[in-house]
Symmetry: C2
Subunit: 255 residues, 2 copies
């Protein structure tokens, strides 16, 4: 981990700052703080929070994200909240009368990662709950962030908007496969274990008269093998299935 | 739009169903409903909601997602809530003692899109606020969904978890560029407009004595052009800048 990096941020010395302009509800501030820590963001700044600071509702709704709440800074002026930042982005759902680059959260994340990796300090501004940011906030920002959403219902809760920015930030820094098999302590069965299971099963299906029509046997056997191959059986599960076969045939293994 | 498709779902006849197991807080149910409609999801099912149904807190927190709240169905048994579904996924933050496929929300979204496109009905289960799903719920599901998050603080608020599933679902169906220039009604300036701006500017910088050292002039002029080229000027902005030059030189255009 580089010098100055913090474990709670995934090893990033200066993760993006979240700036809430005139937030109204402590619940939302707390849930935003929780969402931030979920995503390795720890620097929260509030500009003119309606109910002052600290705020009991914020602390309760942060659900343990104390490191964010305890370090939250409060400002009277936007300019002071942004003063030390090299890049500033602003979230808005509406197109504005401004000529600005527009990122999706997914597009913004690698941009912020690259900027932060160069040692820049970046921040993302969010407007008040009901009204969102004003045009003056747009003009303070380098670029706009807009989440592609259902065009008939685009109004995001404040904490939800913070989560989406944080979520994409975190995803851009991790390398988790989109799909994997959760194996815990077990191992997939070998092909030999599967072959012996199928031979055992087919022998007992012969013995029990399941394969009545010899001409249909090869196709039916293939279909049955497909069922079990699709299940990605483990070593232990093969043993379990063989035990089930033995039991159903009266406890005696007749190969 | 295909037959049976609904505009509020982005034209999808059967978008994924969201199933909340034993949800406790009406606030969370309402915020989940709001997040669902943000993402074109409209079918919410509750299994044994603690405070019954309907729930005033849920309605208030849905912030206008009435179409979701009004159609919410309540069940006593998980089996009944899942009965008509062809595919069931379950969200959990913790690794379990089960052999299951594990998706990220990003990996799950195209999987669900493909299943839904085939006419399948899919659903995603979420556990109670404090405890999450139990092992019995894992066993009811085809696969697990886990959000890659800060390993030191993975506990997501219920509505936040619903949002992330919905967000990726919606993203998988839209084609919004990660980055674009918001131009509104304007057009980027042509290269000719820019050339004439630069010539005008350089002429007035000559006239005002800015280029004192002739040897440095070419390099300085290039740097100045770089500044303005980087700004992606529009037609109107070029006119504004030319007006500024004229004004600063005393209101007379001296080419």
């Amino acid at each position: 981990m580089p010098d100055g990096a913090r474990p709670e941020t995934g090893g990033i010395a200066n993760p993006p700052v979240i700036i809430l302009i005139e937030p109204q509800l402590g619940d939302n501030i707390g849930k935003a703080a929780r969402a931030m820590l979920n995503c390795g963001l720890v620097d929260l700044r509030l500009v003119r929070p309606r109910d002052g600071w600290p705020n009991d509702r914020a602390t309760a709704n942060a659900s343990g994200a104390d490191i964010v709440i305890d370090n939250t800074k409060v400002f009277e002026r936007e300019e002071d909240a942004l003063a030390d930042l090299n890049r500033v982005y602003v979230t808005t759902a509406r197109t504005r009368d401004a000529i600005k680059p527009v990122f999706t959260p997914k597009g913004l994340a690698p941009e912020m990662r690259a900027n932060v990796a160069q040692g820049e300090k970046v921040g993302v501004m969010f407007g008040p709950e009901r009204t969102g940011v004003r045009n003056e906030h747009i003009s303070m920002a380098d670029a706009v962030v807009t989440v592609p959403l259902n065009p008939g219902f685009t109004s995001l809760n404040l904490a939800q908007a913070v989560l989406l920015i944080g979520y994409e930030w975190w995803q851009a820094g991790v390398d988790v496969p989109d799909y994997q098999m959760m194996m815990n302590d077990t191992f997939p069965a070998t092909r030999d274990e599967l072959d012996r299971l199928f031979e055992h099963l087919e022998a007992e299906l012969d013995n029990s008269g399941f394969f009545r029509v010899e001409a249909k046997r090869p196709n039916m056997a293939r279909n049955i093998r497909n069922i079990f191959n699709r299940a990605n059986l483990t070593h232990q599960e093969v043993q379990t299935l063989r035990g089930m076969i033995v039991a159903m045939r009266g406890g005696k293994h007749k190969p």
